[in-house]
Structures are given as structure tokens and as C-alpha cells.
């Protein structure tokens, strides 16, 4: 089951084969979850999006056309659409206050871990200030490590637009994280209150 292609697994899962569905889910759940979490900054919402994404897959197996795109771009495009839908539907406001409390009041954490989590919090804040189109492109390149053509398929644009969005996103991120560039070693950063 593990060596079967995504397309075969999808067909079997859509017919009701549980093993095929589990194999497909295990193959892509981390990617889908991490992407949706970075887009929405909420574990609950990211889990909902992940669940809906896999259910959509088995409900509409005929929509996937292997000639037009690869399975990974297809599943990312589903996750992206669901995330944007969730983001737009509830006047979604990105907040990181809950995470701050968790991070700074857990005594068991070591200093390095605290610093890592602090930096991740800073990056999360910086991403939350970016426009969604730049944000999604940056997440897909930096974290999901997809090519520009794949991102163009997922975002239903062309490569030129993806490049420009990527460039602007990086510039914006640099501006937002400028104070952390003073030293070349980001791991030595100290939170400025």
C-alpha cells in the first residue's frame, strides 16, 4: 500500500478502502497541516482545514487530473482554497497572544528553546502582517519547498507573478525583521520589549 501512487490510493480511498485512505492521509497530513497552520496561525482551524481537505479529496476524486497537475499541487491548492475561505469567512484576525503565554511561562524550557520559540513568534508576527498572496507564496517556497511553476499552479497565476510576489514578500519580511539582522547569527537575538 505504501508504494502505490497517489492516484491509485485516491481511487481506492474514494471507493471506501480505509487502508488506502490512511496511507494517503499519512503521506500528506503533515504538509497540509503545517501549510494551513502557517496560513491561519491557529491549530484548531488548521486541523479543520486538514480534515476538510482529505474529505474533499475522497468526495471528488474525479476532479483530480494527473495530466494537468501533480497530486501534491492538487492537494496544496485544496488546502490553500480552504484556508483562504476560512480566513475570509469569519473576518479572521491573526493573534499570537495565546502562544506568547505558553512560550514564556513554561519553566521547563531551556534558554535556547525559549529563544527559538521567541524567534518563531517574531516570524509568525511578521508573516501575519504580510498580505495573504505574498504570505502564501513565501510559505510555499520557504517551508514547503515547492518550485515556482508548482506555486503558480497552486495559486492559479503565472511564474512572473509568483516571482514578483516572492520578491515583495521577502523585502517586506526583511523590513519587519530588520532589527534582527544586526548580528549575522539570528540565534543570539534577544527580544526587545
Amino acid at each position: 500500500m505504501l508504494y502505490q501512487s497517489d492516484e491509485v490510493l485516491l481511487k481506492k480511498a474514494s471507493k471506501g478502502e480505509e487502508a488506502a485512505f490512511i496511507a494517503l492521509y499519512e503521506r500528506y497530513k503533515n504538509r497540509v497541516f503545517s501549510f494551513s497552520y502557517r496560513m491561519l496561525n491557529s491549530i484548531e482551524k488548521a486541523e479543520d482545514v486538514t480534515q476538510d481537505c482529505f474529505l474533499f479529496l475522497i468526495k471528488n476524486p474525479s476532479r483530480f487530473d494527473s495530466k494537468r497537475s501533480s497530486f501534491i499541487t492538487y492537494i496544496y491548492s485544496i488546502a490553500r482554497n480552504l484556508s483562504l475561505k476560512c480566513f475570509n469567512s469569519h473576518n479572521y484576525e491573526l493573534s499570537v497572544s495565546d502562544f506568547e503565554e505558553d512560550y514564556y511561562f513554561s519553566p521547563a524550557l531551556e534558554l535556547k528553546q525559549v529563544l527559538d520559540k521567541e524567534l518563531s513568534l517574531v516570524i509568525e508576527k511578521a508573516f501575519s502582517r504580510l498580505p495573504s498572496n505574498q504570505k502564501e507564496v513565501l510559505i510555499l517556497t520557504e517551508y514547503e519547498e515547492l518550485s515556482l511553476s508548482e506555486i503558480a499552479i497552486i495559486t492559479t497565476t503565472n511564474i512572473g507573478v509568483v516571482k514578483s510576489r516572492l520578491h515583495r514578500g521577502r523585502e517586506n519580511l526583511r523590513k519587519l525583521l530588520l532589527e534582527y539582522y544586526s548580528n549575522n547569527n539570528p540565534f543570539t537575538l534577544v527580544r526587545k520589549i
Binding site: 497552520y37 486541523e47 480534515q51 516570524i123 513565501l138 520557504e142 539582522y181 540565534f187
Partner: protein
Amino acid sequence: MRKEAKNNLDNCENFSNLDSLNIEEKELKTILSSWKTLKPSPALDKKVLSAFHKKQKESFFYKFIHSSIKVPLPIAASILVLFLITIWFSIANQTSNLNNNINYISKEIIETRQNQYTKISEENNNMLSNNRNIISKHISKEIITITKNKKNYSQLRKSNSNKSKNNIQTDSSNVFRLQRPYLLASNFEKQLVPLSNSWLEQTLSLDELESNYKKPSKYHPHISLNKQANCNNNLVFPVMENYNYYVPLSISNIEKYPVKLILNINNKSVQ
């Protein structure tokens, strides 16, 4: 030499810029890589699996009810327009058919009515002709009786002339009694019957009677039988010799009141 030196300097600057860009990108990447996400909770696995099982247990009817299709707006609009056009045409055809049916039914009704009317008119004509025949027979009988009476009257007149002028007496034998006609149609309820010497002697057909009725002259006064018949059932009116008189015969009244027709000739009461 100077140019080469300049080019070298420019190249050095470009390289330094590229290096700085690459360094910045690398720095950015290293910074971004520190943002690590949590792994999905095991509760999510259970949740997704239960949703999968729930989906598999869905009945065909539930799937059918909750199924949906996406149709592009132009296609949906064109389908809607076509649907409306077909409905409009069907309604128009139905109304035209209705009108045709109404026209057809009205025509049929008119034709049937016309047929009925023609049948009734034919029946009426037949009845009319039968009645005419019957009336003519009765009138001929009447004429015969009147001619007999006329002979008697002439004989009586001759005998009276021999008698004194003031001693004219009436005799019941001189009464011109019109037998009560029967079996008359309602069409001839009020018929003027010409009464004259010439008429008395010849048998007139009903058409001739009608033609005479249509041409009344002032010398031939019409006498209403309705009024006269109330006076002891005797119809008395003055009669001049050699004149034609039309005696109105109201059949209904004759049936009710048997009439005795009394003719006064030259203001002399002669019955």
C-alpha cells in the same frame, strides 16, 4: 587602462552586491527556518477517520440530496433563457389551441343550431301546409253551406219583395252561421276571411285569402270579432250588396264563443 580599471571596479561592486544579496537571503532563510510548526494532534487522526467512516455510511438518498454541481453563470443563464422561451412557446401554443377549440366549438354549436333551426322550420312548414289543407277543406265546407244559405236567402228575398216593405221579418233560416273552425294552427289565429257574393260562390284557397287580407280597402271595414262576439255571441254588422267584406275570425274567441254571423243588408236586419 583607466577603462579597464573602471570595469574591474564595477565588476567588483556588482559581485559585492550579489554577495550581499545572497548573504541577506541566506540570513533570511536561516531566520525563517527557526519558525517550526507543531505536529497535528492524534485527535485529528481519529477525527478524520471518523469523518471518513461517516462519509462511507451515507445512504444513496443522502448523497443524492447533498450532491451539487457547478455550472458556469453564462451557461446557467442561457439554459434559464431557453427554459423560459420554451415555457412561453408552450403557453402560446396552448392559448392558440384553446382559441381554435373555442372557434371550432362555436362553429359546431352554430351549425347544430342552424340544423336544428332548419329542421324546426321544415317541421313548421310541414305543419303549416297540413293546417292549410285542413283549413281549406273546412272553408270549402263552409262555402258550401253558405252557398246553400244564399240560395235560400235569394228565395226569401224574392218572397219578401212581394210582401210589404215594412213587414220584413227575420227568419232564423236566413242566419249565416259560420261553423266553428277547428284544427287551426296558431299562425292563423287571427285571419281575415273575405265575405262577399263572389267569395260565397267560389272556393278560395288559403293563399288567396292571405292576399286579400294583405290588401284591405277602406270600403271593406274590418270588424273586430272580439268586441262583437261579446254581444250574445252574435256578430251583427251592416252589409251592402255587391261589396266585399272581410270578416275577422279570431279562432281563439270563436272557440270560446260560438259565433252567430248576422248580416244586415241595406240596413235591413236580415239574418
